[in-house]
Symmetry: C2
Subunit: 373 residues, 2 copies
């Protein structure tokens, strides 16, 4: 359990990288996508489903878990793995993004975040230290340091000050490095300013984290800014550390950012979009509520090996969504997660065989031919 | 596929009966409980879950299926089994109960039910013939004839007239007996009047159905009336035909009515109550939202072999319900169905070993010690 976290880069195809992340609860092959398990559950699916799909790491949200079920209960349970009965890896975010997007009346000070719970309005303070301590209680395999997430666009001065704060917070978090096998990642901020992203990345690298995330993207900003954020810092990040693009993304995003050298992703799209009747397929996305699927007795995706595609038709799935049945989001989630699992497997395979450029072009060319719900 | 439906009574313990129902999609051991799959799905669970629990028959609702997805689509799909990919038995009710409880502006004539859809307000007519024709399209293994369900209490004259109509409808349905292996059951009505129940049963038996249901119970009437309804007709029903008590019931009801000679049951309690955080256990029911389960790290039921009890704690299940997570009703349903499967297995076993009286008293004595949500 307590081996030092490490990352072995095994090969590259262009800038795309394939490697192995060694964590407390086993190895993770990269590039990897992490399903989001906000409140100690990946919505609608069982642990056994995740295991059968081969997921070796999922994401939990510190902000949510801190508020509910709370640290006391998680400590009594022996940590998050035990509480939710998940014996593989868990990365927990720092709460920075949720503090930015969810909590009311939040106030950022040098000390940390002073905020009001979105659940019951109770007041809390989360500091860089408390966020790490919480993740120690969770027993997270990868802990993220607290960062400040800014709305986009923000001005240069505001962003510069914010990067300063994020760096000071990172340093405070780094001091709590546990040495028990729990990995700790820093988060590069800097908004749309390449020189601030660069500065942030350089200073974080000096602090020597187990991995580096690129944050403050996927907050509604332009796609171009997201690319800029990655490009401006990716070459500064050390080769022998994993790079994690937070909150990204759609299948086409995974392909594009793997091409730039990103190793890790997380996003709610496969699960959240599923609940909106959106199924991911190699040709794009289909909204199964569409009337044209009414008597379509084919599976959602002919060559998919998921439970849904091997058991049920589009017509049946449409019926479940139209009739507002519980199985509808369950089945859509099962399929979408399997789609993401297979897509990332394809990307890893392409890198290992050094034909990432070809494979990614083929995949992208095929996409976007359908609904795009 | 096309063997004639039949029922083999294998043994009795007091009035409790154990037998085998031979249907188009395989054998069903009785006494049997049928999970309710209203809209071509047992809410929240997968076919694979039902198979793993050993369910060999589920129930579908003609009223719901007729309105949505509709006969045209079900015909194109090759029937209900194929549409929902369920290769075991399906009993479909006649719609009588839903026409009584759900549809607006319904009007009963000699012809049948004239009613307005609860979904879109469209007008429809369902006659005894159309209800059988619909169930032929479904390919139901057991078809129920159309009956009139009365609100309780109803007066003697009203009930007598209604029984007359139900009998004339039964005769019209009986004329359409398909002879393709689909079984057809008559339904005994008669409200709280033993002589009307008797009369109805006698005349139905003369029509020679494959089985007999006792209907018009579980419509909010007193428990005593339900017992009266069963007692007044059960001895009139032939030994070599299954007896089905519609819409019943809770675990204690199953025990009581098996004791009176009932063979088949269906009820929404394991599935509907599950969605309300209610778990069935040998000691009664527990509402998992209760604060006392907050840090209770035991399974819901120590000796239960279901997925939930072998994987998760009460504390985790409570968290899922409190956090309004999708997995909450899924897990509660999985457990409750398994509880009902094991309970009916216990009852069958007790009858086969001719110790039903003892076993049922032990089971009943144990029940009711908990919450009773």
């Amino acid at each position: 359990m307590n081996r030092t976290p490490s990352f072995n880069l095994s090969c590259k195809s262009g800038k795309a990288r394939a490697g192995t992340l060694n964590l407390r609860h086993g190895q993770v092959e990269t590039p990897v996508f992490m399903p989001v398990g906000t409140q100690a559950t990946v919505k609608t699916v069982r642990n056994s489903d995740l295991r059968e799909d081969g997921w070796n790491i999922i994401l939990g949200n510190t902000y949510h878990l801190y508020l509910r079920p709370g640290l006391e209960l998680l400590e009594q349970a022996g940590g998050l793995h035990s509480f939710m009965n998940w014996e593989r890896n868990i990365l927990t975010d720092s709460g920075g993004f949720q503090l930015f997007s969810l909590s009311a009346l939040r106030k950022v000070t040098e000390e940390g975040y002073n905020f009001q719970s979105h659940i019951d309005g109770s007041r809390h303070i989360l500091t860089p230290e408390k966020v790490i301590e919480a993740q120690m209680v969770f027993g997270s395999d990868v802990m993220m340091v607290l960062d400040e997430c800014l709305e986009q666009p923000s001005g240069e001065k505001v962003t510069e000050d914010s990067v300063g704060l994020t760096l000071r917070w990172a340093e405070r978090a780094r001091k709590l490095y546990p040495g028990n096998g729990q990995a700790m990642f820093g988060i590069v901020q800097g908004g749309g300013f390449p020189h601030l992203r660069e500065k942030c990345a350089r200073e974080l690298v000096e602090m020597n984290f187990d991995g580096y995330a690129i944050g403050g993207v996927a907050v509604g900003e332009e796609r171009l800014m997201m690319e800029l954020a990655v490009k401006s810092c990716i070459d500064i990040l050390p080769e022998n550390r994993p790079r994690y693009l937070m909150g990204v993304g759609k299948p086409e995003d995974l392909i594009d950012f793997v091409a730039m050298g990103v190793d890790m992703f997380d996003c709610v799209v496969p699960t959240r979009n599923a609940r909106g009747a959106c199924f991911f397929v190699p040709e794009g996305r289909i909204n199964i509520r569409n009337a044209k699927y009414r008597n379509d007795f084919r599976p959602v995706q002919e060559d998919c090996d998921c439970f849904v595609c091997t058991n049920h038709t589009r017509a049946y799935l449409r019926h479940l969504f139209v009739a507002k049945e519980w199985l509808a989001p369950i089945f859509a989630t099962l399929h979408n997660l399997r789609y993401f699992a297979r897509l990332t497997e394809q990307l890893r395979e392409a890198i290992r065989k050094n034909r990432f450029e070809n494979t990614s072009q083929e995949l992208l060319k095929k996409m976007g031919k359908l609904d795009n719900c």
